[in-house]
Symmetry: C2
Subunit: 240 residues, 2 copies
């Protein structure tokens, strides 16, 4: 999962363009798809197939050393070919990702950015935010935050330890969808805050019950294990 400052994709594409042979498939693995399509598209020479891609896999760590052989197993890779793309080129790229262990999904770039805003970008923003709020506490409380982090906070710090450069660029490149989803999140949080203030136990209980159904669906879809505190099987090689 990568992203770059707005405008960098275009500059890179302009540099690469003269060396792309007709018939070549050009792809990427970034977390935001609309911006890369907009910037790179105009530079792609005739006969070259540009199909943006996004393997939805990874951990909070980055760089070559964070890789492991099973990284893509049972995870989804999303391809966002522009309208009119050669079906044979899509099929070839799809096969590439399937051979890496991924399942492949095709969708529109704009839709991808909206779905990822709610499943990935806003969750990361919120995790960064609460860890920042805690870091700003008075010193005595800050040391206690670390000590007693096992009560929930810990999981947020893991997410908030993701690469700062990559995440800055994701938010700069997917601004609209992030703001749209953040708006929904804020509305819902205001209602929840009001329920806490007025002691509306039923409203709290109803939400807390409803969210369990989503969790069960995620486990059923093979995207997490039911074992407490584990995102992957503890026996996966290379992940101890």
């Amino acid at each position: 999962m990568l992203a770059t400052p707005v405008g960098t994709y275009a500059a890179l594409a302009a540099l690469m363009a003269p060396y792309l042979k007709p018939g070549a498939i050009l792809t990427d693995v970034g977390s935001v798809k609309g911006q890369v399509l907009k910037e790179v598209g105009p530079h792609v020479p005739p006969g070259v197939h540009f199909i943006p891609g996004h393997p939805v896999a990874g951990t909070e760590q980055s760089g070559p050393e964070a890789g492991f052989a099973e990284l893509f197993d049972g995870r989804w890779c999303i391809l966002t070919p522009p309208p009119g793309m050669d079906p044979a080129a899509i099929e070839t790229l799809k096969l590439f990702w399937q051979r890496c262990g991924s399942d492949v999904e095709i969708m529109d770039a704009k839709h991808h950015d909206l779905v990822l805003a709610i499943t990935s970008h806003v969750p990361h923003l919120i995790a960064y935010n609460i860890v920042g709020t805690a870091a700003d506490m008075e010193t005595v409380i800050q040391s206690e935050v670390i000590k007693f982090s096992a009560s929930g906070f810990r999981d947020f710090t893991r997410i908030a330890a993701s690469d700062p450069t990559m995440w800055r660029d994701i938010f700069l490149n997917n601004r609209e969808a992030v703001l749209e989803m953040l708006g929904r999140f804020n509305e819902d949080l205001a209602a929840l805050q009001r329920a806490v203030r007025w002691g509306d136990g039923d409203a709290l209980f109803n939400l807390f019950t409803r969210t369990r159904a989503i969790r069960r669906s995620i486990i059923a879809a093979g995207q997490d294990t039911p074992a407490p505190n584990f995102g992957r099987s503890g026996t996966t090689p290379g992940r101890r």
Copy 2:
């Protein structure tokens, strides 16, 4: 970690009081300490030592079957004795928790509730909230949220799968501290939202860098492992 509707502690204490022998130590394991002290305190017979306690350990699962022998190993148990408590009684309870594998910390009940609001209660409220926001999405997106949850959302659903009754009661019992911390979180999120809207990459980068220091401190304090996606060693017995 347990909590009960406001008033239940008092009713329970009134029922128990006649059967408590002088010299007995009375304690609990709830997540909120101010309310239990306020409700139970007046019912405790003379000579009985009431010392509220909170083992900061557990997973998103609850009930006897969610227990395992190492649950308290290397985790903290917080005791919140009221002023003037017999030091020998505190020492006895401390020893009990140490023999269960816990480290023990003594603090004021009000301070406990503030620290836990930021390390546990607000993180849970936020996790419940974003999973609720996603659950309210249009059907097509909701199924995609499940499919592509490996990108960050998954970790929030794990937290948001915690027991609804217990968490309703935690928010009802720790209202003031939760609202105080939620206020800080909201202020910070508004600033972050503004940075996204105006493309202030430096503000984003600075926060995202600062949050890594907290993560490193938590790993150094032995409250999490540096292994990606793991809250505990994958080799802990009983946790597969």
